[in-house]
């Protein structure tokens, strides 16, 4: 389906298409330069093809799967590939695939500064954005004007605001978790204006009274895979009311972005206003404060920490998050998956037992 969509975009709109690995990259630059971006989160499943064994099994499945996928020609429909500097393993992949085989079309890289905002990092980010824009325009053959860039920035702000609105009013949306995530994750491949249309259509269905009475939980993690998590939660009468998946909620600013600057300067400022993410080297305490606020605002009754095996940035934060919420008598579940197509029996049991626990906890309170 993705492939057909991409081909149609190329055929009907003459757009160049650039694939990207997770997580953070400046979408606005691509939109301004008239490139469609398609995200590759793995893809889920066991790595396939002859290149599946080129990365050790103790490396995160996103990287293992991505190499196998690229090398098998899975992304041949795109014109270039972007590798954001997310973690050590994706950084390695950014050399492995183009240099030693697997990807021979143009390669873009985006290094975002780590840690909190510093004068040095703001300055660097601006230069890095400028360079990335130059690289993109080489591929698309279109150099955006200053107003093209500002238009793209405004468009993406609107998209982010809609995504935030849907996430914050989760209970008033007559959708299942599966449906909502499918909608939000279509943003990983749709032309932004089309995605905005879909978000608007969903927003129009928002109800006056809450449409849900399931047990509310918050979830934090990397990517919502396997999606069976949501059907399992649904079966035992639970739903996600607050989301901090790196792929979803963690890329949506939780407050209005009041940035007066324009162009690249605006993008620099916006970057530092994003929710805290360990792949940007965010301070652990800031992340916990953020999660705590999200948890309270959403009225969640339990927290699921969903990690991908071997994902260092996420795994380092787990002890502190767990400690913080456990100390406040919030039921916490650690769930580890490996991008497998289906949840393991054990993982299903964990999820179900957790919801049983949250219910009994809520009843006692």
């Amino acid at each position: 389906m993705r492939k057909e969509y991409i081909e149609k975009q190329k055929r009907e709109h003459g757009r160049k298409v650039i694939g990207t690995l997770p997580v953070h990259y400046p979408k606005e630059l691509f939109t301004a330069a008239r490139a469609l971006v398609v995200e590759i989160w793995g893809p889920p499943g066991t790595p396939r093809g002859p290149d599946a064994g080129r990365v050790q099994t103790y490396v995160c499945p996103v990287v293992r799967n991505a190499l196998a996928f690229l090398a098998a020609g899975g992304a041949d429909v795109v014109d270039a590939m972007l590798f954001p500097h997310t973690c050590d393993s994706i950084q390695g992949l950014a050399s492995l695939a183009p240099d030693l085989g697997g990807w021979d079309k143009p390669t873009l890289r985006f290094i975002h500064p780590k840690g909190e905002r510093r004068q040095s990092s703001a300055r660097f980010l601006r230069a890095e954005l400028q360079q990335l824009l130059t690289e993109i325009t080489k591929i698309t053959g279109f150099t955006p004007s200053a107003s093209d860039l500002d238009d793209a920035i405004i468009l993406h702000r609107e998209i982010d605001a809609k995504r935030r609105h849907l996430l914050e009013h989760r209970r008033h949306l007559p959708f299942s978790d599966l449906e909502l995530y499918a909608l939000l994750r279509r943003g990983e491949m749709l032309w932004p204006a089309e995605h905005l249309e879909e978000l608007r259509a969903a927003e129009a269905k928002m109800t006056e009274q809450p449409a849900h009475s399931e047990v509310p939980v918050m979830i934090t993690g990397y990517v919502p895979e396997p999606q069976e998590i949501f059907s399992t939660l649904g079966e035992v009468g639970a739903m996600v009311v607050a989301d901090d998946y790196a792929a979803v909620g963690r890329r949506v600013p939780r407050h209005d972005v009041a940035v007066s600057a324009s162009g690249l300067d605006a993008l620099v400022e916006q970057t530092f206003l994003q929710p805290p993410c360990p792949t940007r080297g965010a301070n652990e305490s800031l992340r916990i404060e953020y999660l705590d606020r999200l948890f309270k605002q959403s009225g969640a009754a339990g927290l699921i920490i969903h990690t991908v095996k071997f994902c260092e940035p996420e795994l380092f934060d787990v002890p502190a998050i767990r400690k913080h919420f456990s100390a406040r008598n919030v039921p916490v579940l650690s769930l580890e998956t490996e991008l497998e197509p289906k949840l393991s029996g054990q993982a299903t049991t964990r999820l179900e037992a957790f919801i049983e626990m949250v219910k009994s906890n809520a009843r006692a309170a």
Binding site: H85, G281, P319
Partner: protein
Amino acid sequence: MITRRLQYELAGRAVGPLLLTIERWQKKLKRRQPRREGPFGPPLESTQKLKELMSLHYLQGRYADGAVPVAWITSGFPVEMLRPFGFHVVYPENHGALCGARRMIPEFAEVAEKEGYSHDLCSYARGDIGSVLSGKTPVGRLPKPDMLGCCTNICQTVLYWYRSLAKYFDVPLVLIDTPYVYGESQPHHIDYVRDQLDELTVTASKITGKPANSETLHETLQLAREAAELWAACLATGKNRPSPWTGFDGFIHMAPVVAMRGTEECNAYYRMLLDELNDRIARGIGGIRNERYRLLWDNLPIWYKIRELSSTFAEAGCNFVCTTYTNVWADPAKDLDPAAPVASMARAYSNILLNRDLNNRMRIFREMVRDYQIDGVVLHSDRSCKPYSVGQIDLKRLITEELGVRTLLIEADHADPRAFSEEQVETRLQAFIEGFT
């Protein structure tokens, strides 16, 4: 404060040396056991001095907090920036290697794992966090830091690890974020590192209450560059047949260039070591008795198996005459320029092996295999070190195809023996060795 300072100075200048002298006498007094005929050449005499140097460093460290400012930093951190401010520096990685060699990592790691740190995380990080949480260390006591410094040129893991430490100790963490180098490093990347080094000066000055001192920085850089050159010269002695030492000796003897870079003691040590190595070359003394095959080791050592592994190889006449890892502290540091300290550091610290792409790794293999006349390459696929290990499977293939030398990939972990499969590794090693004969 004054008494604390006195203790610190005494530990470093008087008590420590005295204790070590006594220990040396005691050793001499003990009747020498006739050495067993082993596969190794006579031991390096410098090793005793190395032990003293490192013991002294840790002994003095016990009294450092309260006496002088203390910084805990990563192995790739530009320590030269800190020396002029009088910091006592602690290297958790060096400490981790020590704990690894003494097989104490599982005990410490279990403490961290109980706190919720996944056993899939780097064993240095788990070991160090566990050591801090439990207060246990084989070196008696580590001084509490006033500042933490981490540089991402070796991995991004250190950022997460040091953030945890910063929270625990409640002290500032200075990050030197070094953009990964694909091909050649770009001007705006170097500018970024240079800007951060300037910011580091401001922070260090605030913490220590001392102004920046460009004269001392100049001297430190001179010393550091000399250290790198001396270390490079020591490593290069391995090009001789037989090599006067083994690559595993190199893992042990790299401690000063990692932990004491920028000090005169460090350089004095390497002058002595270089003299001894050259002397051995002149006298035809090898690191192992019967050097028949020359090997190269890639990635960190397996600290808890160093002795067993080197014996197994040495008995078969195989010597690791060079390693990619020990080279890290020799190669880019040669570019340090005392005349332009900050700018040259920004470049040198960005261009560390682990911060560069796989083409560069392959270039290094090519050069080393040629310069050291290598017969075989052993790649340690290190569960705990993703940046070093991603790509090794392809590198192994390329080395065999392009350089025509035999290769072996073994899976282990640099510090955690719980992820080590004795039988499996042993069988592979034996098969690899048998292939030579």
